[in-house]
Subunit: 499 residues, 2 copies
């Protein structure tokens, strides 16, 4: 029990943000429970619990005393530059939370729930008309939200939405990066498709779930997941949740395909390593949190795409797969593993896309959501614009809207501005990997021995340990010497698919 | 979002207590997670989460507005008698929470943690001296607590402690009930020991864990546990946790003895059925909670001891055990099951005691803790008093304090006043079973078919559905026509062990 009255304004803020973070930790654990183990009967009560805890944390943030302490701390800021950065992050969180009227927050929650429910049916039936009205209503509220945030944050309305997921990145920076990638893809995708190795898929199904799970555990541990402070469980939609000292990753197993769970677990392990490596001295403070969703995605992708799908690692992995599944080593030869794990193919579904075509899916969504938020694209015109965009970017047109604009939950749950983070993260992962390899030449030889240690140590020192000290581009400058440079991602793809 | 300002004072109280209950539900789920699945690294953060949520719920309860609303509601009480009872329960909770100074609450938490830690080592080493000083310090604070509560509640200091676990029962009522049982035991224990059936233990170990677990699930479901709103998992110390719509029971398995997990799960299922059957109309209100720990224990024991260890049920159970473990039906014949599940034997450890000697363990603790709280027994004299009491009650003396006064955590964690609930519950279970059998003669024939439905239906209508509407004795009057009558428990023991 701290005596708040004798503390400095900044000290009181640290105590209050720390308490909010503890409440949010409780919510994170309950969220894991809901997805991984909760019986269905628990759903209504769990909804109440999560809503109440969110309400309690929100009340702490918007309490008049928080504003008063922020004002007082601004007059007498802490001497430590890290504490000043922490104070700045507090101010941002407070500004985002206080600018929206409660009536708008409630309307957004209500309409998002209604739209998401309608979307589930619409996607099942491939019937966009069934969700058109709720999506239009939700978009109207999202545009109100963006306008309100825009004024308070000094950002364009769409940038104010992006800022919620990856602070400090604007659509003006993203647009040319994405345009450049579009050109790269147009020039190189056909060659990549033509040149990639053709081989039968590795191994012969079924791949027993128990063997897959044991393998996932071993590889996650090799990548650096500490199972005295983490669990691996199952859920319909894989995720990384929990708290830095009690990380919960989940996956799902398909006995016909060992690679989806294995790569999925390594992806979530990348997220987990970031959380576990956040600066302990700043635990439960804004500075001790992740730097944003694009940075988070870079950490999952550097483990999954950069490291675990590398030629060096796959050469080591093959014999382990053969042993785990009791099959012949030759069935997991590099060419056959590459046929499954380094394969380029145009397809309709983002979450199933390979690393080369994935950005096209994101670019499409970035452009469409920017237009919707700006009021330049009406909901009624979304399916046509989607199909036109797919034709322009990948040369394919989905057979129906379930494989088109109905595939992702994001917009139908009110989440606009998230999508760019996926591709910014993929590009940052390539850039970080290049810098890491330069600094630690032993990274690839180690991966060839199934050893992630040198890579993980570099990431811990150059990314994880910084927490939210730096913005997206600042962090890249610290770690790689330059802001986001899509050339590194292109070089990675050239090396893997074109050379 | 209710608009609190236009609600009645009582309406505001319902909203506030409802919100507190939701926070307590979150804590209950986190408590299950901690015991059942949490990796060890999560312990410190989990401690913070539970402490913070407890603090938040406590703040809501002791907020000045709660006191103001309680005063206003007292002037304009609700018309519905159930709502008036709910208001009375709110007032009691508020009084208990506000009477203790914060400094005492903090000192109790601190000294209890220190004493519990010292106790773990002391028990391991059978060294009472190692915990004497911390226990004396803790007892001093408990006596302060009891004195403060005593004044506010108009109860004796020890009764004010009992009231926290089973409201409305006093030591003046308990003492003669326990004295009578002591006499009953003196008269009948030797005969029960002499007359009980001798037979080899049922079945042959090992009893595979997977088979035990499947059986536990089947029997819990038969007893009425709805697995769409419940889970069965493992933990070191079995318990029933969670919330009424998401119940979490746990057990542990011993391949050398199938009976401990099986009876343990049925015991926890009894607790679970009570929680699941609480009145939904009063969910998250004090009236919608259990009536106290003695009533709760009566519900676990009526399922485990009264129903599942009955001759009728064991005759049905035998062949199912044989089938589950792939052994001969004759190995689970009634005499052999009775040799394990209806066995009387004096022993040192309460939690391993049979139903006939168990009350002796409780009577000893009741007398000792009453004397300690009254200041009539010094901590230094506890081991001697314990051993003397065991000799007087059961005619045996523990070989060391680990098997004596160090065996239970309760006092060393600051819990005084809990122990009587175990035996009050066992006696109430016998009394309820007798009334249930009279009202529903089909109960025993159904148990003989492995069917708990008639018993469960009676309990739901006569116990579970009342929530906290009645006190302990009032509930017994409603359900059985009389206050606690130890004769029914004696009759049960006579029928099972002496006739």
């Amino acid at each position: 029990m701290n005596d708040l009255s004798v503390m400095s304004a900044y000290g009181r803020l640290e105590a209050r943000f720390g308490r909010m973070a503890v409440v949010e930790e409780a919510s994170a654990m309950l969220g894991w429970d809901q997805a991984a183990v909760m019986p269905e009967g628990g759903a209504p009560a769990r909804g109440d619990q999560l809503a109440t805890l969110a309400g309690i944390a929100h009340e702490m943030l918007v309490a008049p005393q928080t504003a008063a302490d922020l004002d007082a701390a601004a007059m007498a800021p802490p001497a430590d530059p890290l504490a000043r950065r922490n104070l700045e992050l507090m101010r941002r969180a407070h500004r985002r939370a206080t600018v929206l009227p409660a009536s708008l927050v409630e309307a957004l929650a209500r309409e998002a729930a209604a739209c998401e429910a309608a979307w589930r049916g619409a996607r099942r039936e491939a019937d966009f008309a069934a969700v058109k009205v709720p999506l239009a209503r939700l978009l109207g509220l999202v545009r109100e939200q963006a306008a309100a945030l825009s004024g308070a944050l000094g950002l364009s309305p769409y940038d104010a939405l992006i800022d919620a997921y990856q602070p400090g990145v604007t659509s003006a920076e993203i647009a040319p990066v994405f345009a450049r990638y579009e050109a790269f893809l147009r020039e190189n995708l056909p060659a990549a498709e033509a040149r990639q190795r053709r081989a039968p898929a590795p191994g012969t199904p079924p791949f027993a779930e128990a063997a897959q799970e044991a393998l996932c555990r071993q590889l996650a541990a090799r990548a650096g997941l500490d199972f005295t402070a983490a669990r691996l469980d199952r859920s319909l939609h894989p995720f990384c949740g929990g708290t830095p000292s009690d990380i919960r990753i989940t996956t799902r197993y398909d006995e016909g395909d060992f690679a989806s769970a294995l790569m999925g677990v390594l992806h979530e392990t990348g997220h987990a390593l970031y959380e576990a490596g956040l600066p302990k001295d700043w635990a439960r403070q804004p500075l001790g949190a992740a730097a944003g969703m694009a940075v988070h995605e870079s950490q999952s992708l550097i483990i999954e795409l950069q490291a675990a799908r590398s030629d060096a690692f796959l050469a080591w992995l093959g014999p382990r797969l053969a042993e785990a599944f009791g099959q012949a080593a030759a069935d997991f030869a590099p060419a056959r593993l590459a046929a499954r794990l380094q394969r380029v193919e145009r397809s309709f579904i983002r979450v199933e896309a390979d690393e080369m075509t994935y950005p096209a899916h994101v670019i499409l969504r970035f452009r469409l959501e920017a237009a919707m938020v700006a009021g330049d694209l009406a909901v009624a015109d979304l399916p046509g614009a989607w199909n036109e965009g797919m034709r322009a970017l990948l040369g394919i047109v989905p057979p129906d809207d379930a494989k088109g604009c109905l595939q992702d939950i994001h917009w139908y749950a009110g989440l606009f501005g998230y999508f760019p983070s996926y591709t910014l993260g993929a590009m940052a992962a390539a850039q970080l990997m290049r810098a890491a390899r330069r600094a630690r030449p032993e990274i690839d030889p180690a991966l060839g021995q199934g050893d992630f240690t040198p890579l993980r140590d570099w990431l811990r020192a150059n990314v994880h340990g910084h927490g939210a000290r730096f913005g997206f581009n600042e962090l890249l400058v610290e770690a790689t010497g330059k802001t986001l440079d899509p050339a590194d991602f292109e070089a990675h793809l050239r090396a893997r698919y074109l050379d």
